[in-house]
């Protein structure tokens, strides 16, 4: 993608995101969020984040093939445990990377 195309892409996302943020703050009186959409929004983080995490952990084999017992899956499991116990991004990041480096140096 060319530099110009990238900027246009980022501008589109930026304007769209600003519109989402401004929506109700600006048009409070005119807008109503449908109840079902409101409930749906509560499941956006869990769904999107899981969809971002899982493929980059288990599809890490050669040519993105599925590999369930790789250093990455084991490191991710360790990190998930740390995330659950500490709720801390930094600890999660370090423990996951440490387990990955350890397993890579052993294998």
């Amino acid at each position: 993608m060319s530099e110009l195309e990238l900027w246009l892409l980022f501008l589109a996302v930026g304007l769209g995101t600003f519109a989402l943020r401004l929506s109700f703050i600006q048009f409070h009186a005119q807008l109503r969020l449908p109840a079902v959409l409101n409930r749906a929004l509560t499941y956006v983080p869990a769904s999107v984040l899981a969809a971002l995490v899982l493929p980059s952990v288990v599809n890490s084999g050669v040519d993105g093939e599925l590999s369930l017992l790789s250093p990455r899956t084991l490191a991710a499991l360790a990190a998930a445990l740390v995330a659950w116990k500490t709720k801390n991004i930094l600890f999660t990041l370090f423990s996951g990377m440490a387990v990955l480096w350890l397993l890579q140096s052993l294998g």
């Binding site: 989402l20 969020l33 983080p45 990041l93």
Partner: protein
Amino acid sequence: MQYTTGKEAFLAGVRALLPAAPGVIPFGLVTGVTAIEQGLSPLTTIGMTLLFFAGAAQMAALQLLRNDAFPLVIIVTALVINLRFLMYSASMAPHFARLPKRWTWPLSYVLSDQAYVLSILKFTEGRSGLYGHYFYAGAGISMWLTWQLAVMAGVFLGAEIPASWSLDFAIPLVFLALLVPSVRNSACLGAACVGGVVAVLAVDMAYNLGLLLASVCGICTGLVVERFQRRRPGRVISPVAGDTAAEDTTPAEKVTGEKAP
């Protein structure tokens, strides 16, 4: 205690945000490093960060760029991830109702998960008084500054980090750190499981639509599980972020009591 001046409220907002900063900085660093590894120039990365000001959407867009996804797919995916801002906007709106545009537009731009959570707690406690928007501005602007500086630091670190460190793995780890606390009940768990599995199965889908499809499937699963639970008596769905938004937006719903408390 209510704030007596705007300055006092603004500084209280800054102080409230400080404990959240250590969680944001590594995420910003990784975002900056990833963008540079992706081949983006420092200037483009900074432009992207200014335009998005949304970490998860930024990371997802970078991942999709890496896979040469179709531009429209990148835009739609990023906006779906940012849909939560619609909810925050609805929840904040009544508190900003009397402010002019020179306040509301900049305040909207700096709307973030952290600034929202801190401010809505303050607002609903009724402790912000006349200067609530100053408190929010303090939290929002310091969050914005933290994020921009963290990404910029990542940009300048990025070139120095060797590939053997497998730093690309930091992306799923950061998302994982956000995912685990977002699973607050069985409906969220269902959403996460279906979203993750569909994303794995759809990884080779044309135009990289897999992420979008997986997210929609996950969201629908959450709604179905929630509906299923509500039919069973004695089951209480624990309150989630969405419920705060609902208080302000749908008075009719409050009357019917359809919402979990």
